[in-house]
């Protein structure tokens, strides 16, 4: 039984990159019916048109169907490619809006309104529709229309200020896309909250989900250092001011790393045993107590670090865990494949794709009983479901042909390719 919790909710996705698309994939995992309306003939930024591009897998078929970033965020939805800047394309979207429950859009603030699909317009078309806008800084405020993605929201939220190697130049900071991982979760919460409200009011809601505001909710410790104590929190790397050891240590001979931590005396005693030095946790030893380990942080770290080099990351993590402390391989990209746990739980998903056959991909974020998620639809090809969806919207076959003939809809990019999507 595949996901049915959100069965009956129809979602239209006008979103790019990760936050919006991945959120809509998760809605699909939960049983919602998702239609991704992809821009056409302008290309999505996750669909590169040329190689070399590090994101693209080798294989047959168009380059833009093989980009890894595009695949991570587009399962369990159908794909139509429509030029909504043309009147005939806008009509397709209007018909979608009339029958949908939720419209998710991630344009810069103001763009969707200029396209004729602002909240008032879609609310008039379908009062039961909820619209969720994911502009980075939200719809209102002085930064309306500004452009950025996750890396910038991290920088402006304060999160980036506590990351990185202590004492290293700021220029060495590697940006993350943390908001792309949490905004999709907030999106689900917003979709269902709006659905609950609609049960009472009979009308859809407008949801202004500013990615930076959602990210701000995730880091109370960073903000608290300033608001409670007037301090700017430092870059700590992996260190924890109150836990020793707490770090990533080199394991084995290559570029392997293992995370090790002992948060309590009990965990420390286990780790000390695993390291062959049970006496380090015995009463009277300077490292036996929490304050003692804090006082002797560098020496403890050095001892753990030297010991960790005696095995590969998984091996060291196994020994630490067997002794009751915290240990984990600091996995490189392929690392999760070696986890017996993930295999035993059937987490990996075997997915077939015309141009990327037999891939073993990462699995779902949750199990749900009795109707758990299943990978019903692989990442859609550009415009793969144009005809199927348009027929459902009441178009006749000949009308679909005409729209395709005039490039209002499409399932391949023209040659030579147009410039990338802007804004």
């Amino acid at each position: 039984m595949s996901g049915e919790a959100l069965r009956g909710l129809r979602i239209i996705e006008l979103a790019e990159v990760w936050a919006g698309p991945f959120g809509c994939s998760l809605l699909g995992d939960l049983g919602a019916e998702v239609i991704k309306l992809e821009s056409y003939p302008r290309t999505s930024t996750t669909r590169p048109l040329t190689v070399p591009d590090a994101r693209v897998a080798d294989g047959p078929g168009p380059v833009y169907e093989r980009a890894n970033t595009h695949h991570h965020g587009n399962r369990n939805k159908r794909n139509i490619a429509v030029d909504i800047r043309r009147p005939e394309g806008a009509e397709v979207l209007r018909r979608l809006v009339r029958r949908a429950d939720v419209l998710v859009e991630s344009f810069s603030a103001g763009t969707i309104g200029r396209l004729g699909f602002g909240w008032e317009a879609v609310h008039a078309l379908n009062p039961r529709l909820t619209m969720i806008s994911l502009a980075g800084w939200g719809q209102e405020g002085p930064y309306q229309g500004y452009v950025m993605y996750g890396a910038g929201f991290e920088a402006m939220s304060g999160l980036a200020s506590v990351r990185g190697y202590p004492g290293a130049p700021v220029e060495e900071l590697i940006p993350t896309l943390h908001s792309d991982s949490t905004v999709p979760l907030a999106l689900i919460f917003a979709v269902v909250t709006a659905a609950i409200r609609r049960e009472e009011s009979g009308e859809g809601s407008y949801v202004d989900l500013a990615q930076i505001e959602e990210l701000a909710t995730q880091i109370p410790g960073v903000l608290g250092e300033w608001t409670l104590n007037g301090r700017v929190p430092p870059r700590l790397g992996n260190a924890d001011p109150h836990v020793v050891p707490h770090g990533c240590y080199r394991a084995g001979s290559g570029d392997g790393w293992v995370a090790i931590a002992a948060e309590t005396d009990e965990q420390w005693a286990g780790l000390a045993r695993a390291m062959g030095h049970a006496e380090w946790a015995a009463d009277g030893h300077p490292w036996a107590s929490l304050p003692g380990r804090l006082r002797d942080r560098e020496a403890v770290d050095r001892a753990v670090g030297e010991w960790a080099q005696g095995g590969e990351p998984y091996e060291i993590a196994d020994r630490v865990q067997a002794a009751g402390a915290i240990g984990a391989p600091a996995n490189p990209p392929e690392g999760p494949l070696y986890s017996p746990q993930l295999h035993e739980r059937g987490w990996f998903q075997s997915v077939d794709h015309p141009y990327l056959p037999n891939r073993l991909l990462g699995g779902f974020l949750w199990r749900l009983a009795p109707d758990g998620p299943s990978w019903d639809l692989r990442c859609g090809l550009l415009g793969e479901h144009n005809r199927e969806v348009l027929l459902e919207l009441g178009y006749a076959d000949a009308e679909v042909d005409a729209l395709a003939g005039s490039d209002v809809i499409g399932d391949r990019y023209p040659d030579p390719p147009p410039p990338g999507r802007e804004g």
Binding site: A57, N68, A210, C248, A259, P336, E344
Partner: protein
């Protein structure tokens, strides 16, 4: 219009950051949330920072941010008496969110009526089954497992976590998402649902990780060597009063940056326009941009670059974020009057349902540990003598 989740009853058990983050979403949108906390208080109340660096069970930053609007009941759920109270709470609730050791979670789930009981969400480090089910993890090790520590660190150096407890907060958001979906489904089709979240899977399966990307294209990419010298300008660059962050290595953004600094011809120069040559000419480009940045503040750079629609922002620290003009205009941070402390500033709504300043979302103060014990036990039907018995035996606190 009022708060959308009024009438929705949620029970949280475990006292962890993840559980607290999960149910906060419900209470701030009007739901009635009972946090069942272990005697002495759990993780969410014990992690720093604290005002004045004085640890206090009711004053930690995570507690003040993640327990807003909840009622608190202290209960030892490992005793038969504690489990009886949990069974009554389960019957009262529509959603039960647990963050417990798998064996403890199993005993609690056994109390839930298969038809009439609440939907459940169980959070554990590795899931309820499998060879790693007994393992403990923390925020650091979850980032290690998920490939994210490796992904956002420098080649040859130690992989890095992000901010303390950020992974746990993400797991909490995951629980909130699947939890509200489960209860919606139940309201529609009558089917009670049980969700299970392995923290490792929840983070590894999400984006901003490497495994999925690697699994699609099987390309082994070295980690970054530092600031990108291939697709520039990207990452942090110094300006007069700090740093700005660019994400403008690709077109059309590179052209916009060149135009914004008055050097549009650079974008047409084959040394930079040809992406196979661009990595060889970082040192030709960098001084030009650095010189332009050196005389401007980060907000000046931000405003100027955004006029050209070039992806650039200021790097802000904790002292600056609440003063950012956009965040001020939108009320992105809110003040809560917290008994015993005074005014506390926390992040506001994760999304606005009725426009900025609407009343769908509201943060109320976080409860003292056990503040609502007698009130909740009374509502559950326990007499005064029964409550005294539970307290005297240390089951409640």
């Amino acid at each position: 219009m009022g708060q959308p989740l009024v009438g929705l009853r949620v029970v949280e058990l475990g006292g962890t950051v993840a559980a607290a983050a999960a149910t906060k979403r419900f209470s701030d949108f009007g739901g009635s949330v009972i946090a069942v906390e272990p005697p002495g208080g759990g993780e969410a109340r014990r992690v720093p920072p604290f005002p004045g660096d004085r640890p206090h069970i009711d004053r930690g930053a995570f507690h003040l941010a993640f327990n807003t609007g909840k009622r608190s009941l202290v209960l030892d759920h490992r005793t038969p008496s504690g489990r009886e109270v949990i069974a009554r709470l389960a019957a009262w609730s529509e959603l039960l969110i647990l963050d417990l050791h798998p064996a403890e979670a199993r005993r609690i789930l056994d109390l839930v009526d298969a038809d009439e009981g609440p939907c459940t969400v169980v959070i554990t480090p590795h899931g309820m089954d499998g060879p790693y089910r007994e393992r403990m993890e923390n925020d650091l090790s979850l980032f290690a497992w998920s490939t994210r520590a490796h992904r956002h660190s420098i080649q040859g150096r130690e992989p890095l976590r992000y901010a303390p407890f950020l992974g746990m907060a993400q797991v909490g958001s995951t629980a909130a998402a699947v939890g509200i979906a489960a209860l919606w489904g139940r309201r529609q089709d009558g089917l009670r649902r049980d969700a299970e979240i392995s923290a490792v899977e929840a983070i590894t399966g999400n984006v901003d990780t490497s495994f999925f990307l690697w699994a699609v294209n099987n390309a082994v990419q070295p980690r970054a060597a530092g600031q990108s010298r291939a697709m520039y300008p990207a990452g942090a660059w110094p300006c007069r009063d700090g740093h700005v962050l660019f994400a403008a290595g690709r077109e059309p953004f590179f052209s916009r940056v060149c135009e914004a600094i008055g050097r549009p011809e650079i974008a047409r120069d084959p040394r930079f326009a040809d992406l196979s040559r661009k990595p060889l000419h970082f040192d030709d480009f960098a001084p030009v941009l650095r010189e332009w940045l050196a005389t401007r503040t980060k907000y000046e750079v931000f405003e100027h670059m955004q006029r050209y629609q070039a992806m650039t922002v200021p790097l802000l620290d904790a002292s600056e974020v609440t003063a950012d003009p956009q965040m001020v205009a939108r009320g992105s941070y809110v003040e809560v009057e917290q008994p015993g402390i005074g005014t506390v500033t926390i992040a506001g709504s994760p999304f606005h349902m009725d426009g900025v300043g609407g009343d769908a979302w509201r943060a109320r103060p976080s409860p003292e540990l056990g503040e609502h014990g007698p009130e909740i036990l009374g509502e559950l039907g326990y007499s005064a003598d029964e409550q005294i018995a539970l307290f005297r035996a240390g089951v409640t606190g």
